[in-house]
Each structure stands twice: as structure tokens, then as C-alpha cells.
Point group: C2
DNA sequence: GTCTATAGGCCGATAGAC
DNA sequence: GTCTATCGGCCTATAGAC
């Protein structure tokens, strides 16, 4: 139940965001949204055309928020390695998973270009931002040679997204943390050679 | 609709496996299973106690199959690197995602220990198998030094699971392939040093 | 803007005939 | 084993009063 200081549309969007995160699109019903938002049936349909319209507003906001958070971490100062480390180690509710990545498992979202687009766009932006940082690191000789920045960026994003999967399967964030440590180990500047 | 040469329970399990893969647990209804299996309502409830019982049979079989496939690839000959490469490059229906990993996004599966256990177990076994191969590679000096085999194994599994997420978001397998290439680049024996 | 009433259909399951 | 009938409840809206 969201605070009454928020407008009804606001509360509906926030309730939908939380439900999409936890239960996905298929598992989220208008009725559940209304109850969580403290709004009536007629009220919801007055402000939004229907379930998919409400989901679109929720997804857009979640995507926007994620994009801003990632930019805040990757746009900071320090070496490329330290910024990637900061991205990988940033606070996460690991067992809850990624509010955006989770949506890719929903067939109805993947099948609908309107709903899929914001999901595709943020993940694409995160990947591009990671690639830029990796490229900086390559230019500065921070990482091993002969690496492709776009490829490594895809690996970093995938490690995070897949880390959630492992962690949720196990019921503990342990495997997420392991995956991140493993990746950092592979990325780490090897000053001693081998 | 599954071939009539299969018994009714067989057809029900196979239909459930396909639906769980594509639509998840929440998105899979007994009615849809019956139609796909060509079985009636009463028939389904005669062979299985209900939706979760049927899902359990389906999940167990899918998990078993995945475990065997992974073992076939990782248990083969060649260097550790080449076996990991074979695992990463094995044929996959990338846009369909992982039939096991997908289930971790289902709150009802994660919340039910009976349904979650087979999911947790296979992914755990895959990770352990990967770790053994990585350790062999470390012992043979194939990889950079100072790496933890368990951590790297978690990274490999996560890259695959997360690769599916990226690919489904984009609607193309491209980012999956990139993530894999990036990981192989990071793992690659660097004979030239840097 | 919000409410209640109503709709047709699916949900997951049970009962009992054949 | 498989069938049809039936269940209470939820799904996603729509309609129209207030």
C-alpha cells in the first residue's frame, strides 16, 4: 500500500513496478495492482487504458531509473577497472533479481515491441556504457591486450544478469558474488605476468 | 500435439516441459497442457495430482537432460580451455533461453522447495563440473595465475545465463555470442604476455 | 475521479459415470 | 483410463451512476 501523499496514477505505477519485479507481467493482475495501490477498479481504468498500458508506464520508469543509476557509477572517477568494479559491486537486492532483466523471461513482453523496446534500450545503453569504460581501460593498457571492448562489455552485463539466476536457484546470493569475483579476477591487471 | 506413440503421461510431461520453457510456471495452465498433449481433463488428473506435481515431473526430466548434455561436453577430451569453449559454443536455441534457468524467475517455483530443488541441483552440478575443468586448466598452467576455480566457474555459468537475458531483450542472439567471445578472450591463454 | 455492477472466459480442481 | 459436469474464484475489461 503506497502512501496517500502520492497521486493515484503515481501509486498505480509504483505498485505495478513492484509487482512486475517480483511476479512478472503474466503473474501481475490488475486486481493485485489496485489492491497494492489502494485504488479502485474504475479508478485504474480511468487513468490507464489497461494492463499493458500500465505496465508500459512502469517499465519505462524502471528502465529510466536503472539507466541513471548505472551512469552514476560508471561515469565516476578512477581507473576503468575501479569503475567496472564499482558497477559489479554496487548494492543490489540479489535474490530479488534485476527489475529489467527479469522482464525478458516474460513471453508477452518479448512478443510486444512496445513493451520490449524500453527493456532492450536500457540494457543496450548499459552495455554501451560498459564498452566505453572497457575501451578506456584498453587504451590505458589496464587490461590484457587483444580484447574487444564490446565483447567484454557483453560479458560483464551477462555475468550480472546470470548471477541473479544462479543466486535465485540456490536461494543465496553466494553464487552471484562468486561470479562477480571470478570476473574481476579475469579482468584484473596482472602486474606480475604469469 | 505429441505423437500418439507416446503414452498419455509421457505426452503430458513433454507438453509441460515445452510450456514451462516458453511460458514459465505461472503462465502454464493445466488446460493448455492438456490441449498440447491431446489429453482430457480427467486423464491428466488421473495420472498427476495437479499442476505442481506435473511440473515437478517435467522439471526433473529437463534438469536430468541438461545435466547429461553438459557432462557429455565437459567430460570430453582436450585441454580445459577447449572443453570450456565447447560448453560455451554448444548448440543452443538462444532466443528460447535456458529451460532450467528460466524457472528461477518464477516466484512460485522459487518459493516451493520441492520445485526449486531440482533447479538448484542441476545448476549446482554444472557449476561444480565447470570448476573441476577450470581447476585442471589452472593446474596445467593454461590460465592466468591466482584465479579461483569455483569463482571462474560461477562466472562461466553466469555469462551463459545472462547471455540469454541480453539476447532475448534485443531479439537477436548477437549479444549472447558477444558475451561468450568476451569471456573466451578473458580466459584465453596469453602466450605472448603483455 | 471514483464507485459498484456486470460480463464472458479461464483458473485449478473434484465428482462420478462409463 | 477417459469422459463430462460442476465448482468457487480470479482474469481483464466495460458500463454507467454519482
Amino acid at each position: 500500500m503506497y502512501s496517500a501523499v502520492m497521486s493515484t496514477p503515481e501509486r498505480l505505477i509504483e505498485a505495478t513496478r513492484a509487482l512486475l519485479w517480483d511476479r512478472g507481467y503474466v503473474g501481475t493482475s490488475p486486481k493485485a495492482v489496485q489492491q497494492a495501490a489502494g485504488a479502485g477498479q474504475g479508478s485504474m481504468y480511468h487513468h490507464f487504458a489497461g494492463k499493458s498500458d500500465l505496465a508500459l508506464a512502469a517499465i519505462r520508469r524502471t528502465a529510466e531509473e536503472l539507466g541513471a543509476e548505472v551512469e552514476a557509477v560508471l561515469g565516476g572517477g578512477g581507473t576503468a577497472y575501479s569503475r567496472i568494479e564499482a558497477y559489479l559491486l554496487r548494492e543490489r537486492d540479489v535474490l530479488r533479481g534485476c527489475p529489467v532483466g527479469r522482464l525478458t523471461m516474460d513471453p508477452e513482453i518479448i512478443a510486444d515491441p512496445v513493451l520490449r523496446t524500453p527493456v532492450d534500450e536500457v540494457l543496450g545503453r548499459v552495455r554501451a556504457r560498459l564498452a566505453a569504460v572497457v575501451q578506456e581501460g584498453l587504451d590505458d593498457g589496464e587490461f590484457g591486450t587483444r580484447l574487444d571492448a564490446e565483447d567484454v562489455a557483453a560479458t560483464i552485463l551477462a555475468t550480472v544478469q546470470g548471477g541473479y539466476v544462479s543466486a535465485r536457484a540456490a536461494g543465496t546470493r553466494d553464487s552471484f558474488d562468486r561470479a562477480v569475483r571470478g570476473l574481476l579476477g579475469l579482468l584484473a591487471p596482472r602486474t606480475t605476468g604469469h
